[in-house]
Symmetry: C2
Subunit: 139 residues, 2 copies
């Protein structure tokens, strides 16, 4: 009953993704998936790893984040030009983006009504992102 996610532990998660369970990947997977859903930058995750005394290079953090995205374990969020956010919530959902703090907050997809979506002139819809940008109060 400790398993609230499909993959209770980092090891199974890596196995299912066909990624070798190395020391670094295990540690990063724990940092990412043993907390609730959240949003991190590569730099932040690297900082967390160092704080947890996990020796891992920034290059490996980037490699791992991209591998996790490719495996469908993470999703990349483009909200700020010049910095990528990685999102542990891979369910269909939307975001508040707080411009002052640079923080993201999830909005469950059934909490917003997006209807009457136009068809693209070519290709297929891969994702629909709604970003609500929030600035300082008093518009």
């Amino acid at each position: 009953m400790t398993a609230s996610r499909p993959y209770a532990n980092a090891l199974e998660l890596l196995r299912a993704a066909k990624l070798r369970p190395t020391r670094q990947r295990l540690a990063l997977a724990r940092l990412l998936f043993e907390k609730g859903d959240h949003h991190v930058t590569a730099e932040q995750l690297h900082g967390e790893a160092q704080a947890a005394a996990v020796p891992v290079s920034l290059a490996t953090v980037y490699n791992t984040l991209h591998q996790f995205v490719d495996a469908g374990l993470l999703r990349e969020v483009a909200v700020n030009p010049g910095r990528s956010y990685f999102d542990t919530n891979t369910a269909d959902h939307h975001h508040f983006f707080f411009e002052e703090t640079g923080k993201l907050m999830d909005i469950p997809s059934d909490r917003i009504n997006v209807t009457n979506l136009p068809e693209p002139p070519q290709g297929a819809i891969h994702r629909v992102d709604v970003t609500i940008r929030v600035g300082k109060a008093k518009a």
Copy 2:
């Protein structure tokens, strides 16, 4: 009757924005606003200027783009981590983003129905962006 926009020519537009009508700003304003609405990167606009034999540095292109954003003449679109798009359409609208080509296409805001927007826990909504990401056909 050549004026389909509020500012028919670049000079008036710069005056209204309280920006000195320098050679470079005039040329960039023409490249941006004398065509229909479109989306450009700084690098692209710099290339267009050079093709039009307008001597302007990349630094000035960036300066000018940001001044135009601040003046409300342009809008910055964050859709691709690592590169900013500037949008001459400042009306409330949404986008298709074609992942293969990196191109944006406008969707008028009344063409999509976004309702039941949640209130942010703090601050005020500054903008609501809907981005429809389009990948290669055959999902």
